[in-house]
Symmetry: C2
Subunit: 205 residues, 2 copies
DNA sequence: TGTGTTTTAGTATCACCGTTCTAGAATGCG
DNA sequence: CGCATTCTAGAACGGTGATACTAAAACACA
């Protein structure tokens, strides 16, 4: 099984004609919008612009491509947002995080939601490998919240009324709920109503 | 197009051999576990024990059967829980509601989750009809929370620090989040951590 | 007891599924 | 310039998707 992108063997041959990153981006969009089952290889061929043979050569089978696409999404969307927010003061980081999610959810005209949350209900329950991946990313988000809350409780910007671990878990739950509701009822008042009490909880005496 | 279950015309004929309710229950289980796309008509034929022709005669096509199955699930699971909790005092009703969800989520060894939440991400985003149905049920749950919070704020058992509408929306969001997390990380500490702050919010001065 | 209607079971249909194969074109290296 | 290699395009593959059809069986009623 040759490694994609890397030249193997002792002789050079014809190089790729397509941009692997661009193809992966198109695949992300497909899986993100339609989920794993509802996306056919023919969809992928059409949207990526390369042939099925090239797809299979470069990425393996459909499941492997989904895995790479999910990785790509997480790195480009989730991890990027975490890195961005981690640079802020703790209480502001949490606020900015939810502001961004809110804006993204309300501006999501195609109702794609969050590919990670979609994966959590689509592929994770029936595939232990995917479940582990999704659970790992969720744990990273939880850790981000925990770090923020712990630091905020230490410097007095976040309430100590509840344990930091408990607050972090609550924030993770609210985040998941937001992304589900946004796909069915993307109403500003509803989504803001979901967030407001969670943030109020941080600011109490 | 004959109405299922009802005898039409002026002459009686051969009656159903199968129990329509039992067949619908089996269909609910299929769709609940695997979702709409991942469930094939052959799956349904196998699990319900009746033939494809009977399925089509009795319920119409696959989409119509899913709709009836979702109706059946909502009536038997969601609506039943709402009715049960509505009989309790407001603050206790909310507590009992989440206690039940928590127990159900932790005991869900097949990781089926909640069929309504599954539908919210599976069929609702791509089908306006289903979206309306799911949104309607979510609105019912929101109304249940709102009724509880309003009554609790009136009799002093629930904090008036936040508007009743806001708290109700928050509780709905937490509920959705719970059901997503439970399918990936069904850990008691995590799920309890999600709920605890939401309930604490109700009890503050 | 026939007659009409509707159930059944099984199969046919036809499009699409994920995947692989068959070519032939394009490249780097000896 | 071959030669080995790996790319591309597209057809082909077996399997399965949802659904429709055929014919026999089962009942209610005249």
């Amino acid at each position: 099984m040759p490694l994609s992108g890397a030249m193997v063997g002792d002789s050079m041959a014809r190089p790729r004609e397509f941009d692997e990153a661009a193809v992966l981006d198109a695949a992300v969009l497909c899986f993100w919008q339609q989920g794993f089952e509802a996306t056919s290889v023919r969809d992928l061929v059409e949207k990526t612009g390369i042939t099925a043979a090239s797809l299979y050569n470069a990425f393996g089978d459909k499941r492997a491509l989904y895995e790479k696409a999910l990785d790509c999404y997480v790195e480009g969307s989730v991890a990027a947002r975490l890195r961005h927010c981690e640079a802020l003061p703790p209480r502001a980081a949490i606020g900015a995080f939810f502001d961004d999610i809110l804006a993204r959810s309300l501006g999501d005209r195609e109702r794609k939601g969050c590919m990670l949350v979609n994966a959590a209900l689509d592929v994770a329950p029936h595939d232990a490998g995917f479940r582990k991946i999704v659970a790992g990313v969720l744990a990273e988000i939880e850790t981000f919240f925990l770090t923020c809350v712990t630091a905020g409780q230490a410097d007095g910007t976040i309430s100590r009324a509840l344990a930091a671990e408990t607050l972090a878990r609550h924030l993770l739950g609210v985040l998941m709920g937001l992304r589900v509701l946004a796909r069915v009822r993307p109403e500003p008042a509803l989504l803001e109503g979901v967030i407001t009490p969670a943030l109020a909880l941080l600011d109490l005496p």
